[in-house]
């Protein structure tokens, strides 16, 4: 095979150090100084950061560029001098992915939070990566539109951070995930070159679909600075039909729903039941169709619920929003959260099996399974935890850093890792997966967050090599420790 020339990382800079030459070891202060002289004082400071890789808070050069050019400048310098960089949005997804190696620079996108362009009649919006998803949602709602992505995240989470981790929610059933809604990106690659992908129109097949490469890449190939989404009209009518009952009845209703022409926009099966009414499972069903159709759907669901002996409750409008808000809080509060993929038709059965297997191992896991599309979450609430609590991700990074793990894990880290590995294998055998979204550091040290990559591993490595040859971006965080 001919030797490949790295193309992206090496462009647009002149002060390239000699290849294989002596690697200068840079102190944090020196790095900050160098960055300061390039970007100005306002954009750089040295802080103690607990999430930049090390087990204990360590000093990092914290840069907060004012513009995309400055982001490019940071990456140009970092690439040239092999500084390791962690791009960061609101820092809500730091517990996701493998434990990173310590980094020298944190590149915050907090100041790149503008709405770049929004044309409601085109159903297309472009925002900077640092804009919180909640802010964008509010802006779109004013024009009666939405970005139909509803990941269970802290409201501060930025679109850039979420796109980089590709965190989706229950609406994925009807609208798909980030890869389905994102149509264009601006990305700064190591070396400082600014790459545009896609086009700001809903259909585009010019060249490779590079947008997809960067989504879900955990900031290991480049730093997203601008994202363009296609949008949907805000559903005119919001109603959530919540059904409680035993597994068999929930599975039967799910099957009848799947065979029917109904169009649920969210179809989430929860166990144990969400509101402690006694049933083992809860099934929450949303409909985003026009009013007349949505009402008919609800009617039919209620009819079926009574056929199968399920308790039913319908939440309308703000009450429906509140229900999903509470659902999100419960997910986020758990100190361990794993994203699951599984055959949707077998969702309830898979869930039952997981619950039982976990119980045998002495763990009381909670599940929220998208039984329409086959994605969901497994959570392990801390003992004694009830209802909403502080989002776990922040806690996970700081408090859980000890070798033995947090107190609630009571030294059973290895056991839990073993269980997760077994569950992962079971899901993989059915075409699914298990990926840790939030976990104590001790656990992340024991088990790979992502699991095996499979036969594409060589390609994955070479992609990384092409875009970030010196592995300066988020080292160690992604699959296989990339």
């Amino acid at each position: 095979m001919r030797r490949m020339e790295p193309r992206i990382g090496l462009e647009n800079h002149t002060d390239r150090p000699p290849r294989g030459g002596h690697q200068v070891s840079w102190s944090t202060d020196r790095i900050a100084g160098a960055l300061e002289s390039a970007l100005g004082r306002a954009a750089v400071r040295v802080v103690l950061d607990s999430a930049a890789g090390g087990d204990s808070p360590a000093p990092v050069a914290w840069t907060e560029p004012f513009s995309e050019e400055e982001v490019a400048e940071v990456l140009r310098l970092a690439h040239a001098h092999r500084w390791t960089v962690q791009p960061r949005g609101a820092g809500t997804q730091l517990a996701t992915g493998n434990l990173p190696q310590p980094v020298q620079v944190v590149l915050s996108l907090a100041r790149l939070h503008r709405l770049v362009s929004y044309s409601p009649a085109d159903l297309v919006v472009t925002v900077q990566a640092g804009m919180p998803l909640a802010t964008l949602a509010a802006e779109l709602a004013r024009s009666g539109q939405m970005l139909p992505l509803d990941p269970p995240v802290n409201p501060a989470a930025t679109v850039g951070g979420l796109a980089a981790t590709s965190t989706a929610g229950p609406r994925r059933l009807l609208y798909g995930s980030w890869r389905d809604q994102t149509i264009a990106l601006r990305v700064v690659c190591p070396g400082g070159s600014i790459v545009r992908t896609g086009a700001k129109v809903v259909k585009n097949v010019a060249g490779y679909d590079m947008t997809k490469l960067f989504l879900g890449s955990f900031g290991t190939l480049g730093v997203l600075t601008e994202i363009t989404f296609k949008l949907r009209p805000l559903p005119p009518h919001r109603a959530t039909c919540v059904l409680h009952g035993p597994a068999g009845a929930v599975a039967a209703l799910r099957q009848r729903l799947a065979a029917s022409p109904l169009i649920p926009s969210r179809l989430e099966a929860l166990t144990p039941a969400a509101d402690g009414t006694g049933g083992a499972w809860t099934l929450a069903v949303d409909c985003d169709e026009p009013q007349a159709a949505a009402s008919r759907q609800t009617e039919r669901l209620l009819q079926w619920a009574s056929d199968f002996g399920l308790q039913a409750l319908v939440h309308q409008g703000l009450a429906a929003d509140a229900w999903w808000q509470a659902w999100q809080q419960r997910l986020l509060a758990a100190p361990l959260r794993a994203r699951l993929a599984f055959p949707p038709a077998a969702g309830v059965a898979v869930g039952e099996w997981l619950r039982q297997d976990a119980a045998l191992r002495g763990w009381d896991i909670h599940l929220s399974l998208g039984v329409g599309h086959g994605c969901g979450w497994l959570t392990l609430p801390a003992p004694g935890q009830t209802g909403a609590a502080e989002p776990a991700s922040a806690a996970a990074t700081a408090a859980d850093s000890g070798e033995a793990g947090p107190a609630w894990l009571a030294g059973r880290t290895a056991e839990l890792a073993e269980a997760l590995r077994d569950w992962r294998e079971t899901l993989r055998a059915q075409g699914g997966s298990l990926v840790l979204e939030a976990a104590p550091r001790a656990l992340r040290r024991t088990i790979d967050s992502f699991g095996p990559v499979g036969s594409s591993w060589r390609l994955q490595q070479q992609i990384k090599q092409q875009f970030d040859p010196y592995a300066i971006l988020n080292p160690g965080r992604f699959v296989g420790g990339m």
Binding site: M1, M4, E5, R7, D122, L123, C189, I194, T197, A199, K200, V201, K203, V205, A206, G207, Y208, D209, M210, K212, L213, L221, R232, P233, L234, A258, P261, L262, I263, E289, P290, Q291, A293, R296, R339, A341, F342, P343, P344, A345, A346, C375, Q430, G432, S433, V435, F450, G451, P452, V453, G454, S455, S456, W457, L459, Q460, I463, Q466, V479, G480
Partner: protein, 509 residues
């Protein structure tokens, strides 16, 4: 045709014959001509050979052999692509996947199907229709085009406004890489672990590898469908209606538009609807979903059409009527053969709100160049398909048509859009890639190609801009300017759009 066939190494031929048997290797020059091009005929070349593997292992074996002998190759489905993606310009060995047309597995419970790449798009839908399911992406050529070709081109269709394009429906694939290695990309459920390499493969126009098993998502057929046909006296009114519908919070399954010349062409074909000759535009609008909601939405759609000066709005009363309207739309490209000996179909995309002005620009270009341009397009997506009519027998017209096409794409990019929405770059729009992407953008794409296809044996010379072609386009742009100067005093556009009974316009031919 570009010269004679490149010679196939005798030992390679022996090895191919040994791998596939004599009936699945075409190598005599006489049998290669039919593979000189796909649906895009402007450039042609002879392959060294055509092979018909039937399994992943055979594809891998063939690809490994070709690597061993340093021979370029390209995959081909039904050869209906419109940008020359399957055209062997460098004596490639054509790997025809047409015989790999099995439906390998269907899981109706989980709405998944696993297919071989040569399976025809519509067949998949036919095979799962009994269970009320279908495969959503529906390019106009769906009755013949293959799912492998759809994957390579990231094919769209009329219903992608609501349901998305191929990439939104392909979940996993077994892929023979350009070095013969076999890898699995994507995941049947949820997200694949690692970089989204499947996302790169879909739409890579056969330059990153050959998918040999494809897992796709199936959808349930909607409970209700309603289709409306709205005629407009002015193109601008039709464009405004499109924006108004979307702005009103309605996402129809499809909004298609045809202009006067396109209507005339299809009315000459087997799919005669009987469009009034003086209507300037027709919109075909389809809404689907749950029964009650569909009626509600269709009422709004009809209302909005009326508000925007539609001359008439009809809602299809039976399946036959709906089918005829759709056939008339889907056959429009081919039907252009009835009004012009040759045509180029372009595939630019623009923001939907800029339809009116870009269509006006195209009309001006048509007047200035003297070439008739029919417009058939996915209005809801802003995906234009200007059909530039010309006669290759008139010296200079082919170049002029190419130049006009290029100018239209430029205008699309200038309006904030793309040079191609679903047909791909292929050989046709390589030069125009530089309209949309700068060097850094292209370098990133090149980096991806280097990873998958480092020896550039797999469909070389496609998708990426080449300097040679740029100068060609510049030359034809110059030609177009000359022509525009000459034809400045050309008769009114309305006359251009109203050909005589033979479908020819006085003075044009």
């Amino acid at each position: 045709m570009s010269g004679t066939a490149q010679v196939l190494d005798a030992r390679l031929l022996q090895a191919l014959l040994q791998t596939l048997g004599p009936r699945r290797v075409l190598h005599q020059p006489a049998h290669l001509h039919a593979y000189a091009c796909d649906g895009y005929v402007a450039q042609q070349g002879l392959p060294r050979a055509v092979v018909f593997p039937e399994t992943t292992e055979e594809v891998a074996a063939v690809v490994s052999l070709l690597n061993q002998y340093d021979v370029p190759f390209l995959p081909r489905g039904a050869g209906t692509g419109l940008s020359g993606g399957a055209t062997p310009l460098h004596g490639e060995v054509v790997i025809s996947l047409a015989r790999m047309n099995k439906l390998l597995a269907v899981d109706l419970e989980n709405l998944r199907a696993v297919v071989q790449p040569g399976l025809v798009n519509l067949w998949l839908t036919k095979r799962v229709a009994h269970a009320g399911c279908y495969y959503a992406p529906d390019p106009s050529s769906q009755s013949v085009c293959t799912l492998g070709g759809n994957l390579a081109e990231n094919a769209g269709g009329s219903h992608c406004l609501k349901y998305g394009v191929t990439t939104n429906h392909v979940l996993a694939a077994k892929v023979v890489l350009p070095n013969g290695e076999v890898v699995d990309l994507g995941a049947t459920y949820g997200d694949a672990v690692g970089y989204d390499l499947l996302g790169l493969l879909v739409g890579s126009e056969g330059t990153l590898g050959i998918a040999t098993e494809i897992t796709v998502r199936l959808l349930k057929k909607p409970e209700a469908v309603q289709t409306a046909l709205a005629l407009f006296d002015r193109v601008a009114d039709a464009s405004d209606t499109v924006s108004a519908i979307l702005r009103a919070g309605i996402v129809p399954a499809a909004i298609e538009m045809m202009d006067q010349l396109a209507m005339q062409a299809v009315d000459k074909s087997h799919y005669h609807v009987g469009y009034p000759p003086d209507a300037e535009a027709v919109l075909l609008i389809e809404v689907d979903g749950l029964a009650g909601g569909v009626e509600e939405q269709m009422r709004r759609v009809v209302e909005l059409c009326r508000q925007h000066a539609a001359r008439s709005v009809q809602v299809a009363q039976c399946e036959e009527e709906r089918a005829l309207w759709w056939s008339s739309r889907k056959m429009a490209f081919g039907a252009t053969g009835r009004i012009s000996p040759d045509y180029i179909v372009q595939d630019g995309v623009i923001p939907r709100t800029r339809l009116t002005e870009v269509l006006q620009y195209i009309a001006d270009l048509s007047r200035n160049s003297g070439l008739r341009i029919a417009n058939v397009f996915h209005a809801g997506d802003g995906n234009l398909h200007p059909l530039i009519c010309y006669d290759a027998r008139i010296p200079g017209q082919a170049e002029l048509a190419a130049a006009v096409g290029s100018q239209i794409l430029r205008a699309c990019v200038d309006a904030g859009g793309s040079i191609t929405g679903e047909h791909g770059v292929g050989v046709e729009k390589r030069a125009e890639m530089t309209y949309q992407f700068c060097d850094a953008d292209l370098a990133a794409q090149e980096a991806v190609r280097l990873v998958f296809n480092p020896r550039n044996l797999c469909n070389p010379g496609k998708l990426f801009p080449t300097p040679g072609r740029c100068s060609e386009v510049r030359q034809s742009a110059w030609l177009a300017a000359q022509f525009a100067a000459v034809s400045a005093g050309f008769p009114e556009q309305t006359r251009i759009l109203a050909p005589d009974r033979q479908g020819r316009q006085d003075g044009v031919y």
